[in-house]
Structures are given as structure tokens and as C-alpha cells.
């Protein structure tokens, strides 16, 4: 089996105006690799939501996208406050985003639900005060 293609990004937690740059770059890279448009849409939307969450809640983090023959993995890692109640956070409409973030059009409580909707599997490993690790997988077949 051939080695996975990997893209690594550092998500800047201080610059909300540049949030989403990693996702847009991933979209470009996947298009260059000839990945199907619907797969690109799923990966880039799922990753964007994760990227935005890291900016809003965790002060940034690291993102890795690995492309295998049969799947694309999105690994997100931050050292933020962690998610207190993952089941609650997965519910559409639940949000802990502050008002200044809501005024920008975020904080609708759709981040994690969208990440689940647009990936074929998602695992969330979060510890309060330590951070959150998320793995999303989008199947290619």
C-alpha cells in the first residue's frame, strides 16, 4: 500500500479574519489531486467547522489531512479548554460561543453537527483543561 499524502496546517487562534484558510487550501489541494467534487465538499466543510471551532474555543491548534487510497482522514488537535459535554455539543443549536463571535454569523450550534454530517465517521477525544483531539474520516469509495 502506498504512503498517505499528508498536508499539515497550523491554525492561528488570534486571527479570526483568516479562519478557514487551511480548509480552502485543502480544497485546492484535493482538486489538484483529482478528488471527486462531492468528496472535496465533504472534507472541506467538515474541516472548516473544525478549524472555526479551534479558533473560537481553543486559541488555534494543529490540523493534518491524510489522503489514503480508500479514505481521507482529518486530524484536529488543540490545547483548549476541552468539551464539557460532547453529547450536548453534538446537538444542533447548542453553542457556547460568545456574543462577539455570534455577531459574525458563527455560534449557531452547527459546528460539530456539520462535522458529523459531512464525514463518514468522527471520533472526539476531549479532556477538560487539556484539549480536544478529533478524527474525521471521509471514505473515497
Amino acid at each position: 500500500m502506498s504512503e498517505a499524502v499528508r498536508f499539515h496546517f497550523t491554525v492561528d487562534g488570534d486571527d479570526f479574519t483568516s479562519a478557514g484558510q487551511a480548509s480552502v487550501q485543502v480544497k485546492k489541494n484535493l482538486r489538484t489531486l483529482g478528488i471527486a467534487p462531492e468528496i472535496i465538499r465533504k472534507v472541506s466543510i467538515a474541516m472548516y467547522e473544525g478549524e472555526i471551532n479551534m479558533v473560537i474555543h481553543a486559541g488555534g491548534g494543529e490540523a493534518d489531512v491524510l489522503i489514503f487510497e480508500d479514505r481521507i482522514e482529518i486530524h484536529l488537535c488543540d490545547n483548549g479548554p476541552g468539551i464539557a459535554n460532547i453529547d450536548l455539543a453534538m446537538q444542533e443549536g447548542f453553542s457556547t460561543a460568545p456574543d462577539n463571535i455570534r455577531s459574525l454569523g458563527f455560534g449557531a450550534g452547527m459546528g460539530l453537527p456539520n462535522m458529523k454530517r459531512y464525514s463518514d465517521s468522527i471520533t472526539i477525544d476531549s479532556a477538560l483543561g487539556k484539549g480536544t483531539k478529533i478524527l474525521m474520516t471521509v471514505n473515497l469509495s
Binding site: 480548509s23 454569523g105 458563527f106 449557531a108
Partner: protein
């Protein structure tokens, strides 16, 4: 119907014209970005009053045909510059979202 044809027919004011030959296949109205991201379809005309820089990334990732800013909303110049660089069409109109959607429905439905 192409973006350029819709723009001309409804007198939309161009703010960023990156690819006006894109076909509009539907309409989505919304200001909550994650909601738009999750629900808008590729090829939609996205009608919104949200005008911060993040609309460019959302439009790019959701692959909408264009953004139409309703009620005369005009974004900062850097939003238009970034949109042009990212290949995103942005127009503005004095019409409300409802009026724009009703007008577009005549062409699309």
C-alpha cells in the same frame, strides 16, 4: 441561468466578478454561516446580509455560484478583493432577501 444574466436582469451591483459564467441552480438564504455551510447546495445563489470576510471562505467551501448581499449591504473593500482572489462572485442589491428570492424563483422554478 448564468450569474451574469441574473445580475443584468435584476440590476445587481457587482462587487467581485470572478466567474460570472457560473450557472445558478438554486437559492439559499441565510446569515448563520455554519447553517449556510451545512445546507447550501453547490451552484446556489446565496442571499445574505452578512458581509464580513468569513463569507468568502463559506462561499468557497460550499461552492455557491455567487453571494448576493440584500438590502444594500456593502462589505469592506478587503472582502471584495479577497473574493476576487478566491474566485467568488459577490453582488449587492437594494432589494430584500424575499424580493430577491421571489425574482430568482421566476427564473429557476
Amino acid at each position: 441561468m448564468k450569474v451574469c444574466d441574473v445580475a443584468e436582469k435584476f440590476s445587481l451591483k457587482p462587487l467581485s466578478v470572478a466567474d460570472s459564467s457560473r450557472e445558478i441552480t438554486g437559492v439559499y438564504i441565510g446569515d448563520l454561516l455554519s447553517w449556510v455551510m451545512g445546507r447550501a447546495e453547490s451552484g446556489d445563489a446565496w442571499i445574505t446580509i452578512m458581509s464580513n470576510i468569513n463569507i468568502v471562505a463559506v462561499a468557497s467551501l460550499a461552492d455557491v455560484a455567487c453571494i448576493i448581499l440584500a438590502e444594500g449591504v456593502v462589505p469592506d473593500e478587503n472582502v471584495c478583493i479577497t473574493a476576487l482572489q478566491k474566485g467568488i462572485n459577490i453582488y449587492t442589491s437594494d432589494k430584500t432577501a424575499y424580493e430577491l428570492a421571489a425574482a430568482l424563483a421566476q427564473c429557476l422554478l
